[in-house]
Amino acid sequence: MKIIRKGDEKILGILGEQEVRDLPCRPLRYLLQAQCPDGTLLYNVLTGQLVLLEEEEALFFRKEAPRPLTPAAAQLAKAWFLVPESYEERNTVHVLRKILKMVQGKNGITGYTILPTTGCNARCFYCYESGLEKVYMAEDLAVRLVEYMIRHKGEGPLRLHWFGGEPLVGMQRIDQICSLLTEKGTEFTSAMTSNGFLFTEEVVKKAVGLWKLGRVQITLDGTEEIYNRTKAYVCECENPYRQVLQNIRRLLENHVFVTIRLNLDLHNMEDLRSLVLELKDVVGGFQNVEVYSHVLFENAGAAPIGRTEETRKLLYRKQVELDSLIFENGMSRHSISLPVLKTHNCMADTEDSVVVYPDGRLFKCEHVEKGDDYGHLDSGLVKREITEKFYRTAELPGCGSCPIYPSCILLEYCRGITDKNPYTCRYRADACARSLPEYYEKAKERKKESKKENKKESKKKSEQESPFSLT
């Protein structure tokens, strides 16, 4: 067993090495396996450790572990890859989450999802906000928001996430809030979910400088015709598609990390393949870009989609194909992050994040629902029963056997509107397993690079130390 990635120090600090007993053993349920030319890669989602196995070791996971455990099997058991038959790993995940949350403690509010407006310049048919009243944040409210942020600030810089509507439609408030924070010497970083249409040269310069924008997520729905029809921008622009592609390039040239999300459904599943190839020409050479696909939510938008089992299966297949194409064209960044044990799902079930609506109401989730405001900037938290409901978790029938269970939390609140179904869950687990060989190759490259660097360093050092010069 060769360790490719060490496990999480905190988790292993709590778990320690597993005590090896002479009991019948089986593989832990939270393992991902993939083949690579050097052997079998095995990733432990519970501990975050990735190992490369010899053929003999790999057999323990295909057939059964020897009893008594051979030294090789015992080593795998110590590292939590093999566990006793009766082991209850789901309980371990719950206890670890509880402990990690307690250790993290409370640190004020550091994460703000701010909606400068609910207004938008696009009219996507699938928008879950369709029907929401258009509200714009007032100037005096932005001042009070900054005061609130400073009053509740914890350690470390504030993390601002601009959301909407289309946040750039309310960019005056972004300017104002960022200027005020800068004036008051409050450190912050920004990210944004945007359609990208308004990122002109001037806006990008401002975004990088004043807003400290590090990341943007932009959704594309297809190539020119499908994109323009789906987005249905309210503008005079002849070709929004071309404009958005140009803007994405501009962001990349200015070192902003851009995540391009491809919204997938029946109407565009073939077209998205052409889009990936077009994207390769536009963004292919950049390192600060990633492309991923996402099947449209079933229960949202002006025309909610209800899918049959057959359709879900088909979309799953199409998503896997699309993912491979993205990967083959070098625009996937899946391998950078392997799934790890999570203590919370999103901003909604953490105490250090709030969502600020343009009228100052506070929400837990960016997918704002009527009646889910738990307070106001001026009054703070007033409805604890609302915040509490975001902390309740739920499970689906398939969760018990899911290999990425430690890295996934389903909130009870999302149960009805979530996109989780057997196919999306399977897609996620499969995508994680598929990313292992790429992660391994990158880890090998990094090791080679650092070896080269070390060699260079020691050569330089010995030349400096040596009284004789070889050149």
């Binding site: 600090g13 709590i14 778990l15 371990t92 509880k98 402990i99 250790v103 403690g105």
Partner: protein, 89 residues
């Protein structure tokens, strides 16, 4: 003496984990403790004001161990809590 801050104990795979909770605890000790039964019991006793002698008496009642061994063990555990800054007079 007593604990300076809250330390929760949680069972995990037959082991007892002690988790210091709260800002002061995190600042003082940013980790978890692996406890044996006796240490966990002493930690429980330290949640309210108690003397070393009282701890020894209570542990003696709970665990059937010779007084000599027990006194040494209790002192050792209290010292390790003291060194980590968990105790207040």
């Amino acid at each position: 003496m007593r604990l300076k801050f809250r330390i929760e104990t949680i069972g995990l795979d037959g082991k007892i984990i002690g988790v210091p909770v709260g800002e002061e605890a995190t600042a003082c000790f940013g980790g978890v403790l692996k406890l044996n039964d006796t240490a966990a019991y002493i930690l429980e006793l330290l949640k309210s004001e108690i003397t070393e002698q009282e701890i020894i008496d209570r542990v003696e009642k709970e665990y059937k161990v010779s007084r000599d061994v027990l006194e040494k063990d209790v002192k050792k555990i209290l010292n390790s809590f003291e060194e980590r800054g968990f105790l207040t007079e």
